[in-house]
Amino acid sequence: MFRFDRRLLQSFDWVMLVAVLIVALLGLLNLYSAASLHKGFGTSVFIKQIYYYLLGFLAIMAILMVDYKVLTKWSYPLYVMTIFLLLAALFFGSEVAGTQRWINLGFFRLQPSEPAKLMLVIILASYYYRKDTGAGFTFKELIIPMGLTIVPFALIVKQPDLGTAMMMIIIFVSMTLFVKLKWSTLATLAGIGLSFVPLVWLFYLKPYQRQRILTFFNPESDPLGSGYHIAQSKIAVGSGATFGKGYMQGTQAQLDFLPERHTDFAFSVWAEEWGFVGSLFFLACYFFIILWGLNIALTARDKFGVLLAFGIVALIFWQAFINLGMVLGLLPVVGMPLPLFSYGGSSLLTTLAAIGILMNIRMRRFMTGS
C-alpha cells in the first residue's frame, strides 16, 4: 500500500497544486490588508495563517502517500471519532460569543464542525459506493445515509452553528442527488424537506437567526443592527468599482466599518481594494480549482473516487457560493468562511485535506485495483 509507484509521481496533480498555491497567496495577501488595522493582532493572524497553510500542505503530502481507497475502510472509525469530537466541543468546548464550537488543544483551537463536513462527504461517498444503485435508491435505502447526516447535523445545530449545520444538509442533498434516485424517493425527500421549513422557522430558529433572515429580505429596515453586515459589505464591494481602491487602501476595511473582515467577509476586502477586475481574476482562479475538481471526478478510476471527488467539490463549492452570496448581498448572513481564503485554521486545514484527497484521486486515476 505504501509502495510508491514511479507512475504516481508522473501523474502528480501539478495543476491543482499551482492553482491552490495561487489562491493561497491571494488569501494571504488579502489577510495582511484585512487584519492590518489592529497592529499586534493583525500580525499574529497573518503569521498563524501562514502556519496553517504550511501545516495544510504537509497534510496534503501525507494524504498523497496513502491510496484514497483506504478511506472506504477507515470511514466508519473516522466518522465515530468526528462524532466524539463534536460531543467534546459541546461538553468541554470553550465558549466564544455564546457558542460551543471549539476544542482547545493547547496549541490549536479545533473547530470539529469543519472536519465533520469532510467526514460526512467521506462517509456518504463510501456508503453510496458500497450500495449498488441498481434502478435508483428507494426512500428506505436512504434512511442510513440520512441517519449518518442527522447525527453530526444535530450536534452542530446544538452549538449552535446554523451555517455549518446547513452545509451538512446541502452535502447530503448534493451527493444523494448525484447518485441515482427513484423519482418517488426524490418527491418524498422534497416533501419532507419543504414541510420542515415552517417547523424549523417557528420552533427551532433563535430570534436573532430569524432576524438575520428577515433582515436579508429588507436590509434597509435596520441599517445599524442586523442589516449592518450586509450593508457595509455591499458598500465595500460596490465602492471598489472597476479597479478598486488599491491594496491596503480599502477604507471600509481599514477604518473598521467592515465586520469580520478577515474571516467571513474577507472577499469584501478583496473586492473593495481590487475592484471588478481583481474580483474576476480571483473568481477565475477560485472556480478553476472547483472545475478542476469536477474534472478529477470525471477521470477517477472508480465509483468511490467519483463520489468522493464530487462530494469534495460540492463541499467547497457550496461554501464558496454561500459565502460570496452573503458578501455580495444575495444571501442572508449565516457565518460561512470562504474555503482557502478566509482566516481560520480548522476551515483551512479541512479544505487543504480535502484538496489533498482530490489530488490523491487524480494521481491514482491510472491505477487499477490489485
Binding site: 449498488d132 468599482a241 477604507t251 471588478f276 474576476l280 469536477l294 457560493f321
Partner: protein
C-alpha cells in the same frame, strides 16, 4: 448488494456514463452560479460602483452628545450671578494634517505657546484613531480665534471646538457659595452611573454647583451625524435638543454681597447677613475670594498649591467653616444668662479698675484705665470686660454653656453647605474628657467674655443675633429660595424652615437685652458707634477676639503687631431696632478692634440693605452705578 470493502473494481460503463452525465450537469450548475456571482459583481461594482463609492466616503452615523446649558444662578431680585458662555478650544485632527511640523510651528506662534507644549499634547493623543481630535489649547480669546480662523487655510488639521462653560458675570462674587465645576472623576462616574454622565463631562465640585447638581445640569441632547470615511461629520441627520438645567434663585442680594466683598477686599474674613424672620441669607461673603473664574477648564496646579499655601485660607468658606473665639459678641449670652439666672439685675454695678485679680492671677479689661463703677447697660455698651468677669464668676462655665447652646452655639446650623463646623461650647465635663484636666475657675472668666476655648462660626453668631432680634426664634439658614425651570416656571419653592423657639427666656430678658444692644451702638461712648445709620436704629455688639495672650504682644506698638498675632475683629448687629428685619455679622481676621474695623463694614452692608428695600434696582454704591452705566 454491497461491494467488498477495499476491493475496488473499475466501474461498469453504464454507471460511468450516468455519473459523467451528472458531473456535466453539475458543471453547468456551477457555471450558472458563477455567472450569477459575476453579474452581481458587475451590478455592484460597475453599475452602482460610483454610488457605493460615495456612500463609503460618507459612511457612518455617529451619535454625538450635546451638552445641556447649565441652569443659571440668580439673586433674590432675579439678577444673574452665574450663567453660561461658549468657550473656544483649539483642536487638532491628525488625519487632516499632511505637514504637521510647519502647522505646529505656526500654531505655537499664534497661541504664544512653546512648541514642545503642543507636541506633548499631540503625543498624549497619539494612541487614538487618527480622526479623533486632540485638544491643544482651551478657551482662547476672540483675537486668537480670529487669527486662527483667518489662517485656517495654512493650518490644515487645526479646528475650533465650541464648548459651553460657566460665565461668572460678577467675577468671583460669592465664589465660595457658588463653587465651581470640574471634570467628573472616576468616583463620581461610579456614583452617578445610572445617570447620563460620561468621562470628560463637567460636574459641580463645590458649593451650590455641587449641592444642586441634579437641578442645574439639565438633560443632554443627541445629535445624529453622518460621518465620512475619515470620521468627519458630513450630514446632520437628526437632533434631539438638550434640555437646559433649572435656574436657582438664591436668597442672596447681589448688591449687598458686593458691598460686603468690597469691604473685605485685601482682608480675610466673613460677612453674613440674614433675614431675622425667615433665616434667608442675604449675604454670605468669605475672603479672600476663591478664583473660580480661573478654575474654568481645569485648575492649574500652581494656582491650587498657592491657595493651599495661603495662610489666609482662601479655600475655607469662612461663614460656615471658619471657627473663631466670639470675643465680646459672646457677652450677649453672658448677659442673657445673668438676667435669666437672676445673678444680677440691670441695676447691679461693679467697679472696673482696668483689671481684677482672681485666684492669684490678673485679668485685664480691654480698657486699661478702667471703666469705674458700671451697670449692665454701660458695661455692655462700652464692653467692660471686668463687669462680665464678675458675671462669669457668679454663673459658672456650665450655666454659660447652657445659654450658649440655647443660642445656637456649639451646633451646626444645618445650612445646606459642605463641611459646616459646629464651633465649641466648653464645659467642665468637656475639658475633663478632652484634656483630662479639671476645669479652672479662671477659665470661666475668659469664657464669659468670649475668649478661652470658645469657638463659633460667623453664621452661628448671626443666628444668635437674629434670635435676640426676633425673641428667640431659630430658622434653618436658607440660601436658595426657588428652583425655576427654563421656561421661568417655579418648579419648587423653598419655604423658610422654623427650627425651634427658645421658650426658656422671658420676654423681659429679651427686651432688656435688645435695649442694651441698641445702647451698644447708640450710646455716646458705645464701642459700636461707627455702625450708626441715619434715620435707622441699629442694635449690635462689637467683639475683638484675641488670637494670643495679651502678654505676648504687649511689647509691640499697636500697628507693629505681626499680622497673624493681631486680634480678630467682630461686629454683629440687627436693624431696625424697633422692628428687626435683618441681622449682619462681620468678622475680619486679624483686623484689630471690632469697633474700628468690623462695625463700619456692617454699617455699609446694612445701608445697602435699606437702600435695596427702597429700590431693589438701585446699584449699591456710586462706584457701581458708574460701572453699570458703562
Amino acid at each position: 448488494m454491497l461491494r467488498p470493502v477495499g476491493n475496488i473494481t473499475k466501474m461498469d460503463p453504464a454507471e460511468l456514463k450516468m455519473l459523467k452525465k451528472r458531473t456535466d450537469a453539475a458543471t453547468a450548475i456551477i457555471f450558472f452560479i458563477v455567472a450569477i456571482l459575476v453579474l452581481r459583481l458587475w451590478h455592484l461594482q460597475i453599475q452602482q460602483g460610483g454610488e457605493y463609492l460615495q456612500r463609503s466616503e460618507s459612511n457612518r452615523i455617529r451619535v454625538q452628545q450635546l451638552a445641556a446649558p447649565r441652569g443659571n444662578l440668580v439673586d433674590r431680585h432675579g439678577q444673574t450671578l452665574v450663567t453660561n458662555r461658549p468657550r473656544f478650544n483649539v483642536i487638532w485632527i491628525r488625519e487632516d494634517a499632511p505637514h504637521p511640523d510647519e502647522v505646529i510651528r505656526q500654531l505655537a506662534r499664534i497661541l504664544e505657546l512653546d512648541i514642545s507644549e503642543l507636541l506633548d499634547r499631540i503625543r498624549a493623543g497619539a494612541d487614538q484613531p487618527r480622526f479623533i481630535p486632540t485638544r491643544l489649547k482651551e478657551d482662547i480669546d476672540w483675537r486668537t480665534l480670529v487669527q486662527i480662523e483667518n489662517n485656517s487655510f495654512n493650518l490644515p488639521g487645526v479646528q475650533i471646538e465650541v464648548q459651553p462653560s460657566r460665565n461668572y458675570l460678577h467675577g468671583n462674587l460669592a465664589s465660595h457659595l457658588v463653587g465651581y465645576l470640574g471634570e467628573i472623576n472616576q468616583r463620581e462616574l461610579e456614583m452617578f452611573r445610572h445617570q447620563d454622565y460620561r468621562a470628560g463631562d463637567p460636574i459641580g465640585k463645590m458649593g451650590l454647583e455641587r449641592l444642586f447638581e441634579t437641578y442645574l445640569r439639565g438633560e443632554k441632547g443627541r445629535s445624529y451625524v453622518e460621518v465620512d470615511v475619515r470620521g468627519f461629520a458630513q450630514k446632520q441627520l437628526q437632533i434631539q435638543e438638550p434640555l437646559p438645567g433649572n435656574d436657582l434663585q438664591l436668597t442672596l442680594d447681589l448688591q449687598m454681597q458686593k458691598v460686603a466683598e468690597e469691604g473685605l477686599r485685601d482682608a480675610a474674613g466673613a460677612v453674613v447677613a440674614m433675614e431675622v424672620n425667615s433665616g434667608r441669607l442675604l449675604v454670605m461673603a468669605s475672603a479672600p475670594e476663591l478664583p473660580v473664574e480661573s478654575f474654568v477648564g481645569g485648575i492649574p496646579r500652581a494656582l491650587w498649591q498657592g491657595l493651599l499655601d495661603d495662610r489666609r485660607a482662601p479655600l475655607l468658606n469662612k461663614p460656615v467653616q471658619g471657627q473663631y473665639a466670639p470675643g465680646s459678641t459672646y457677652k450677649v449670652i453672658t448677659t442673657l444668662a445673668a438676667l435669666e439666672e437672676e445673678v444680677i439685675t440691670p441695676e447691679t454695678s461693679f467697679q472696673c479698675n482696668g483689671s481684677i485679680i482672681f485666684q492669684g492671677r490678673r485679668y485685664h479689661c480691654w480698657q486699661r484705665r478702667g471703666h469705674g463703677q458700671v451697670k449692665l447697660r454701660q458695661a455692655m455698651a462700652e464692653s467692660c470686660d471686668v463687669y462680665f468677669y464678675y458675671l462669669g464668676q457668679r454663673l459658672g462655665v456650665d450655666t454659660l454653656a447652657k445659654y450658649a447652646r440655647l443660642m445656637g452655639l456649639g451646633q451646626k446650623t444645618e445650612i445646606v453647605l459642605e463641611h459646616e463646623k459646629e464651633g465649641l461650647v466648653p464645659t467642665a465635663e468637656w475639658k475633663r474628657q478632652r484634656h483630662r484636666e479639671p476645669w479652672q475657675d479662671g477659665e470661666t472668666l475668659s469664657v464669659s467674655i468670649g475668649q478661652g476655648f470658645n469657638l463659633a462660626t460667623p453664621l452661628q453668631i448671626t443666628r444668635m443675633t437674629a434670635a435676640v432680634a426676633n425673641g428667640g426664634r431659630f430658622y434653618r439658614p436658607k440660601l436658595v429660595s426657588a428652583i425655576i425651570d427654563p421656561e421661568g416656571e417655579v418648579v419648587q419653592e423653598l419655604q423658610p424652615e422654623p427650627e425651634r423657639e427658645v421658650g426658656e427666656v422671658s420676654n423681659e430678658s429679651w427686651e432688656l437685652l435688645r435695649e442694651i444692644l441698641v445702647a451698644s451702638v447708640m450710646d455716646q461712648r458705645a464701642t459700636g458707634r461707627s455702625a450708626r445709620i441715619k434715620d435707622i436704629t441699629v442694635a449690635g455688639k462689637t467683639g475683638t477676639s484675641q488670637v494670643v495672650r495679651l502678654s505676648q504682644i504687649e511689647h509691640f506698638e499697636e500697628d507693629e503687631i505681626p499680622y497673624h498675632l493681631r486680634d480678630h475683629a467682630w461686629f454683629t448687629a440687627y436693624a431696625p431696632a424697633e422692628k428687626p428685619e435683618v441681622a449682619v455679622t462681620v468678622l475680619v481676621e486679624h483686623g484689630g478692634s471690632g469697633g474700628a474695623v468690623a462695625a463700619p463694614l456692617a454699617k455699609a452692608v446694612l445701608e445697602a440693605y435699606f437702600r435695596q428695600q427702597e429700590d431693589p434696582t438701585l446699584p449699591a454704591t456710586a462706584e457701581q452705578k458708574q460701572q453699570d452705566e458703562e
